[in-house]
Each structure stands twice: as C-alpha cells, then as structure tokens.
C-alpha cells in the first residue's frame, strides 16, 4: 500500500477514532482533531502539482480482487488532482467553519464528523480511482454519507424527507451507472478507465456503446442534480450549513461533473453525448436560475443557483466534446475554449459558492432566520460578512473584476463558438445555446442581487428576528475570508492556475487532441476588446437591473405554473402510489397463513423445475446405472410412504409429529444403508433436536381440529403435493442417467489426505476446501438465532413496557 491509497483511506481510519475523541476529550471541540487531516492531505497533494503540470501521471495499484479485474488503483492526473485539491482544500475550510457553527455542548459532533470524514474519503476515492468498480463503491458511499448528513437533525421531518429524496434519486442513478459500467466491461474486458480509453476506437461502433453511455449519464445527471433530477438538491439544504457548503455545492454534486469529464475521452465525438450533456446542461442552467429568483429562503436561492451553475459546467463539457472532431492546432484552439471554461468555472464556483454558503450560514447563525422577507439592513451590523457577500455574489453574477466574470466571458465565448459549429445539426439548433445562456445569466444576475441586497440593505426589522444580530466570531469568518480572497486573487491574476491545474485537467479530458509533448494554450485575460461577449455581459447587467427593480411587478408569473406539473408533485405522488401498489401486492400474497406460503413455494418449484425439464427435454430414463434394490430398502421405503400418507389423517398433533419423525429417522436409516455415516449422524441428531423443539412449541400450539374447508382448497393442496412428488421423482430418475462430468468425489478422495491431512472427506471439504462456505453458513445460523431471540424476547419486553404504563 502506497501513500496514495493511504490518502484515500485515511479519513475512514480517522473516523474510527472520532467517537472516542468526542467521548473522552470533551473540553476540546472534536472538529480540531478532524481539521488536521484535510490540511495534511492538502499539503501532501499539492506536491503533485509540478508533476502533473509536466504532463505526467502517478499511479499505484494494490490488488483487491485480481481474478475479477478489480484492483485498487490510485491514479493522479490533472483532473483527479484538481478535484482532490478542491475536496481537501474546501474540506479544511468547512471543518474550521463547522467548529464555530456547531456547538460542542448541544450537537452530536461524533456522528457529524464521522459522516463528514466518511464523505471526504469516499469523494477522494471517487476522484483518485482508476478502476470503475472501486469508483462506483466510493460513489455510492458519497450518497450514503450525504444521506446521513442531510438527516443529521433527524428529529425534523423535513430533514428526513430531504435525506430520503436525495438517497432515492442519487442511488437510482448510481444503479444505472453500475449497469453502464458493466456494459463497458462487456465491451472492453477491463474496468480500468485508462485501458478503456485506449480501446475507444474499437468500442465506439459496438451496439452496447449507446446504452452504456445513457446509463452512465443517468448516474452523472442524478448526482449532479441536472434537470429533471435536480429536485433533491433544494431539499438537501436541510443539512447543517457547513454540509451544504461542502457536499451540496463544492464537492459531492460535482462528482457527476467529474464523471462526465473523466469519461469524456471515451464518449466525446459522439453526437448523442454532445447533445445530451450540452442539452441537459443548458436546460438545467436556465431552469435553475429561473427558479432561484422566486425563492425566499437564502439557502434555497443558493441551492437553485448551484443547480444552475452545475448545468453551466455540464453544458460546457458537452460543448467542449465537439473539439474532438476538429483536432488541435493554434487556429482551432477556440473549440477547446468550452472545456477550458468548464474547468475554470468549476474552480471559481467552488470558491464563491463556498464563501456564499458560509455567509448565509453566518446570517442564519447570528439572526436565527434565512427568510429574506424578515431580513434586511444588516450591512451596518455585520460589515465583514456584507463585504464577503458582495464579493461572492458579484462574482456569481459575473461582474468584473472577480473570477466569475472571467469564467462567464469564457462561457459566452464557448456557447458562441458552439453555435457556429457545422456538425451535429448545430447550424440550425445552435442558436438555442447563446439565447438560453444569456437569459439564464440575466436571472443569475437578479438572484445574486436579491441575495445580497435584500439581506444587507433596506429596512432593518429587529422585531422579526429571533436573536439580536452581531458580527460573527473571527473563526467563523476566516474560512469565507480565505475563499473570498481567492475569488479576488483569481480575478486579478487569472493565469495563476493556467498551467499548473487547468491545462493538465484539460489534457485529461481531451487527451486525444494532443500529440506527445504538446500542450493546450491557456491564457485568460480581462480585456478582449469590444467583443460580442462583452456586449452580452452589458446586456445582462442592464436588463438584470431593470428586472431586479421591477421584481414585484412580474414575479406573479411564478404562480402561473400549474402545481400539478411541478416535478416535486410527480416525485411525491410517485412515491405515494408506489407505496400503495406495493402494499396491495404485499397484502395479496402475505396472507399470514403458512399453508398459503408453502403453496406458492411449491407451485413455483413445480413450474420452474418441471417446466425447465419439459422445455429442455431433459427426461431420460435409462436403467444403466441403477444399483440393485435390496429388501431393506423396500421395507424402509414402504415405512416412509405409510408414515407420510398417514400424517394428514392424524387426529392429534402428537401423532402427526411422531409420524414426521418416522419419516426423518427412516431417511437417516437410508443414509446408514448407503454408507454415509456423517449424513446419518447429522440427520439423526437434527431429528432429535427438532423433535425436542416441537415438544417445546407444543404448549403454544392450538388444538388440532379437523379442518372444515372447502373442497376446491383441498383439491389444490392435493394437486400441489402430487405435482411436487412427480417432479422430484422425474428429476431423480433423470439425474441417474445424465452424468455429464466425471464425479468430483474421486478428486476429493485423493486430495483430502494429501493436501489437508484428513481422511474424513466430508469434514475436510467442510472446514478446508470449502471453508468459506461454512464460515458464512455459521454466520447465517448465528443471525437466525439472534433473530429468533429478538423476535421472542423483545416482543415480551415491549409488552411488559406497555403493561407497566
């Protein structure tokens, strides 16, 4: 195991110790211990910067399940490193922030930090894994951690609702993605992303290629909250604010973006990929920004804003994939602008959105509300927070000189270039992109202004606030200050990261374009001259300002939408009707009568086995291998038949139990005759013990009464029992003659003494050759025993509690 694997696993290892630290070191906030780890990881990962900026990659493999091609391969390239730095960097700030946000007296910090660390490790695993199965495992872990964190205040109903919603939607997508990964494996025979990329030429014509793409996109879209799966993200805001800042803005939701970027080398160049990624992205961008304007809760605004910005990045990745068609040279470098803008905006979004979430958290923490109708006039009370909010929102709105402006300009360049493409029907449909992008930017401008001015300017209404607001403690301000300074720094020195992070990440997304030793040309600057992009931005500001001041006049259009068409409505009703149908089906077959269940089981047995035998024409009744039948066997068989037939006619329960016992002991005798002492012993003891069990239960069982049931019911029973008997007999007869392989017993007889030093073949198989089976079997036994115990004992305890009340 190398350091890289340890980087991924270290959060999980630390998580084990968190509950103890929380319990025994009460005077220190648990967050301080957690803080050390992301800071260490960040400083460790940063030393890969020179490596990847030279175009090199680092990888290390630990074998996990080599026989299934599943290995734990940690792989660092530009894209992985960019995300890993975001995860650990923003992670450190969020942990620092959470120390001041969550009180150590009131909150269950142990679970909070365990979930947070679990998330951090899972996320690092996603972005640093080369193996798709490992990636998938970590991917689902992020969903799980997110679920736990959203439901952190599980006493609130909305938290539980939001957690369930996010879980259902993201895990649904995760399963689809899993299927897509399997399809990729079927085509290529490997789970390694780099090996799959190497085979792109041969698989792109495969008939499974398109299904694999669609399934994987489903996973990416649900995770990244793309329209129409975005509905879970606003509800996820029930989580504590540090979580929202970290998971639902800066990192986890970007996992979908990461996946699309990571798999771009496989799928880019396909028209379906281009249209799906870019199309869903642009629709999400527009819909998210449009919906954000009507929100009154600060966090909801940010949630919809995140949805919309994720759509923006997704759209850019889709547009950038078209570059594969044109090859790369100085002249057509414009086609890669979209990819460049995606990466740059990814970084910028993490900085300004992280800062804004923390600002909103501060407002919430210090005033007790996030409702913009109650807030206002906080500027003079919280000057530092106000400054941070200004920087964050102006960057989000795309105003100079902040970094958001730069990436917004690049975004406009990207969509304008895309509309001039002459592939994928872009000559006719291409105009959609600039139009929607511009409209979305107007709404982005409006909600950004709402966010900052409705909170910090206007009339101060202390009577509507729960607490008396004042500036936040310094520790709570440091993380957003750092993020906001990054917003400014990247704004003033946009090329700071050009060749250290952005270019290597672009090279990972579009590797096929570069010849060896070649680099993408990345130069971001403020002044492009009087370009279309600049006029678009000016239009955004002009129209946005007008619409902001006339907000009350036109906001009525939001109420015009029919409620029944809302996506949340579909989700809620889908869930309710699913439950109703499931209940109906369950009530139909779970009658509570053991007899009915047995009928189902045996009916399936007859249909599946009998039908299988019939359709495969597997009947064969040869006499060749039949051993001579002795007199003992005939007598025993007769005894068994008599006992079995007599059971239904038994007048008392005791007689019935004894008759079943006779059948069981006769089977044991058969084993004796056929010289299988182990089986005979087992059967004898099992019979004895189960008879003892019967006797114990005897006391509880109702009196056996002659059942007066309808004739058709008995006829079904009769038919079923007859069917089972006939099918089993047919199988037994056919099995005698159908010997396809040499019996394996020869091998075991030979090997059991030589290799395991035991002469008892049965036992050697049980404990050695197939020891793993046995281990899991006794595990099942143990679970069954605990289930019986809890079923009986806990029921008693509950009833006693009830009676005591």
């Amino acid at each position: 195991m190398a350091w890289l694997q340890l980087v991924i696993l270290s959060p999980f290892i630390l998580a084990i110790f968190i509950p103890f630290l929380y319990k025994y070191v009460r005077q220190i906030h648990t967050g301080w211990f957690v803080l050390i780890l992301p800071v260490l990881l960040f400083s460790y990962l940063i030393q890969f910067l020179p490596v990847v900026s030279n175009g090199e990659t680092v990888q290390h493999t630990v074998e996990w399940i080599p026989s299934l091609n599943i290995n734990f391969t940690a792989y660092v390239d530009g894209l992985g490193l960019l995300f890993a730095l975001l995860i650990t960097g923003i992670g450190s700030l969020v942990v620092l922030y959470s120390i001041y946000y969550l009180s150590k007296e009131k909150e269950a910090l142990n679970s909070f930090y365990v979930y947070l660390l679990m998330f951090m490790g899972a996320m690092l695993g996603v972005v640093l894994s080369d193996n798709l199965i490992v990636l998938y495992v970590f991917w689902e872990l992020t969903s799980l951690a997110s679920f736990l964190l959203i439901a952190y205040w599980y006493q609130r109903e909305k938290s539980r609702y939001g957690a369930q919603k996010s879980m259902l939607i993201t895990v649904f997508g995760g399963f689809a993605m899993f299927a897509g990964i399997i399809l990729l494996y079927l085509m290529t025979g490997t789970y390694s992303i780099r090996e799959i990329i190497a085979q792109v030429g041969t698989i792109s014509t495969h008939e499974l290629f398109l299904p694999a793409m669609l399934l994987i996109l489903l996973g990416a879209f649900t995770k990244s909250a793309q329209f129409p799966f975005h509905i879970w993200l606003p509800d996820a805001m029930e989580a504590p604010t540090p979580v929202s800042a970290y998971l639902h803005s800066a990192t986890m939701v970007k996992a979908g973006i990461y996946l699309v970027a990571r798999l771009s080398p496989i799928f880019a160049g396909q028209a379906e990929w281009f249209w799906l990624v870019a199309g869903f992205g642009i629709v999400t961008l527009f819909w998210g920004s449009f919906s954000a304007v009507k929100q009154t809760d600060l966090k909801s605004i940010l949630a919809f804003s995140t949805v919309s910005q994720l759509g923006l990045i997704m759209c850019l990745l889709g547009l950038g994939s078209a570059a594969v068609h044109f090859g790369y040279s100085k002249e057509n470098a414009i086609y890669t602008t979209a990819t460049l803008a995606a990466i740059f905006h990814l970084i910028n979004h993490a900085t300004f959105k992280g800062a804004l979430f923390m600002v909103v958290g501060i407002v919430d923490h210090e005033t007790g509300t996030r409702d913009i109708r109650k807030l206002g006039g906080l500027m003079s009370l919280m000057p530092i927070t106000f400054t941070l909010a200004i920087i964050g929102t102006f960057s989000m709105a795309g105003l100079p000189p902040f970094n958001g402006f730069l990436s917004k300009e690049l975004f406009f360049t990207g969509v304008l270039n895309a509309s001039q493409l002459d592939i994928f029907n872009m000559q006719t449909w291409g105009m959609i992109f600039p139009v929607l992008a511009w409209a979305a930017s107007v709404f982005t401008f409006i909600y950004s202004m709402v966010l900052v001015f409705k909170t910090f300017t206007g009339k101060y209404q202390p009577e509507k606030l729960d607490k008396k607001p004042h500036e936040a403690p310094i520790g709570m301000l440091i993380p957003p200050i750092i993020l906001a300074s990054l917003v400014v720094i990247f704004g003033i020195f946009p090329n700071l990261l050009s060749y250290t992070l952005i270019e290597p990440a672009m090279a990972s997304i579009l590797p096929s374009l570069l010849a060896p030793e070649q680099q993408f040309y990345v130069n971001i600057y403020h002044w492009h001259g009087w370009t279309t992009e600049l006029f678009m931005t000016m239009g955004v500001i002009a129209v946005g300002t007008i619409l902001y001041f006339t907000l009350t006049r036109w906001s009525g259009i939001y109420n015009k939408f029919p409620k029944r068409l809302a996506l949340n409505h579909f989700y809620d009703h889908g869930l309710i009707s699913m439950e109703r149908v499931a209940n109906k089906i369950t009530r139909f077959h779970m009658t509570g009568f053991m007899r009915d269940y047995l009928v189902y089981i045996f009916a399936f047995l007859i249909v599946l086995l009998g039908g299988g035998l019939f359709t495969l024409n597997a009947f064969s009744f040869g006499q060749g291998q039949v051993a001579p039948i002795g007199v003992y066997e005939v007598i025993l068989a007769l005894v068994m038949v008599c006992a079995a037939v007599a059971v239904p006619f038994a007048e008392s329960r005791l007689t019935a139990i004894l008759l079943v016992g006779v059948v069981g002991f006769s089977v044991a005798l058969f084993f004796v005759i056929f010289r299988a002492p182990d089986l005979a012993l087992t059967q004898l003891i099992v019979e004895t013990v189960s008879t003892a069990l019967f006797l114990l239960c005897f006391y509880h069982l109702p009196k056996l009464r002659k059942e007066i049931s309808r004739v058709p019911f008995k006829a079904t029973n009769f038919l079923i029992s007859l069917g089972v008997g006939v099918v089993m007999m047919l199988i037994a007869f056919s099995a005698i003659d159908n010997r396809l392989f040499v019996p394996i017993s020869e091998y075991f007889l030979e090997a059991s003494y030589k290799e395991a030093g035991g002469r008892n073949v049965v036992n050697v198989i049980l404990v050695d050759f197939r020891g793993f089976d046995t281990m899991l079997e006794i595990l099942v036994l143990g679970i069954a025993a605990l289930a019986v115990f809890s079923m009986i004992k806990l029921r008693l305890a509950r009833r006693e509690d009830f009676e005591n009340q």
């Binding site: 012993l681 035991g758 050695d768």
Partner: protein, 141 residues
C-alpha cells in the same frame, strides 16, 4: 405438573455425560472419521437439551451459567480469526495447514489448523441451537 420425573432425572445424569463425552469424541474424530464440529456441536446441544428437559430452566441456569448468545459470537470470532490468521503467513484467506508433532501423553499427533476453525463451528452450533431452544422454551405466553 411434573410428578414422576425421578427416573428421567436419574437416567439423564448419567446419559447426558455419556452423550457429552461422545460429542467431544465426535468433534476431535472429525478429521479422520465421521464427526466434526457441526455434528459434535449438535450432539452437545442435544445433551444440554436433555438436561433442560429433565430439570427446569431455573436450575439449569445455575448449573450451566453460560450466555449462549456470547457463545455464538465467540464461535464466529474463532472461525473468522483462523481465516484472518492466514494473512500473517502471507497466504490467502482461510488457508489451512497441518503437521505432526510429538506430544507428552498422546505420542505422535497430527495437529491441523482446520480443527481451530472447526472449534468455531462447534461453538456456534451449540450457541445457535441453545439460543433458539431456550428462547422458545422460556416463552410462556
């Protein structure tokens, strides 16, 4: 209710020990002859059940003050740790080994790690059977 269980109790005192001894024999014989952890465990459980039938649960709790649920856990722990133990010797999970040793009383004896695993099976089976039977037996509703 019980008026005439003197005979049962007297017989049980002897018989249960014979069964217990036999079950231990079965357990150790398992490697070469019919037997093994599963059968041995079931037979031990059978002997204990017989004791429980002859005497009552309260008395037996004093005679054998064991928590059978913990016995399950112990058994599983032994079984899993013999599996993990293979890692110490850099061989795959659950690899077994055996060898011949000269022991003071027994002379040349074969010792196999499989027996340790079997011990786990044995304890689990006893624990499981007794937990189930006692849970149902103590349930007096």
């Amino acid at each position: 209710m019980r008026t005439n269980d003197v005979i049962l109790q007297t017989v049980t005192k002897t018989v249960s020990f014979i069964i217990l001894l036999f079950s231990v024999y079965l357990f150790f014989a398992g490697h070469h002859n019919p037997g093994g952890g599963f059968i041995g465990g079931l037979m031990t459980a059978g002997a204990i059940v017989l004791l429980y039938i002859a005497y009552d649960i309260e008395t037996m709790k004093k005679v054998i003050p064991l928590d059978y649920k913990k016995m399950i856990a112990l058994g599983l722990l032994i079984a899993v740790s013999t599996g993990i133990g293979s890692f110490l010797f850099h061989v795959p999970f659950l690899s077994h080994s055996f060898g011949y040793f000269y022991l003071p009383v027994l002379g040349k004896t074969e010792l196999a790690t499989a027996v340790l695993f079997d011990l786990g099976v044995y304890l689990t089976v006893v624990g499981v059977t007794m937990t189930i039977i006692l849970s149902i037996g103590e349930d007096d509703e």
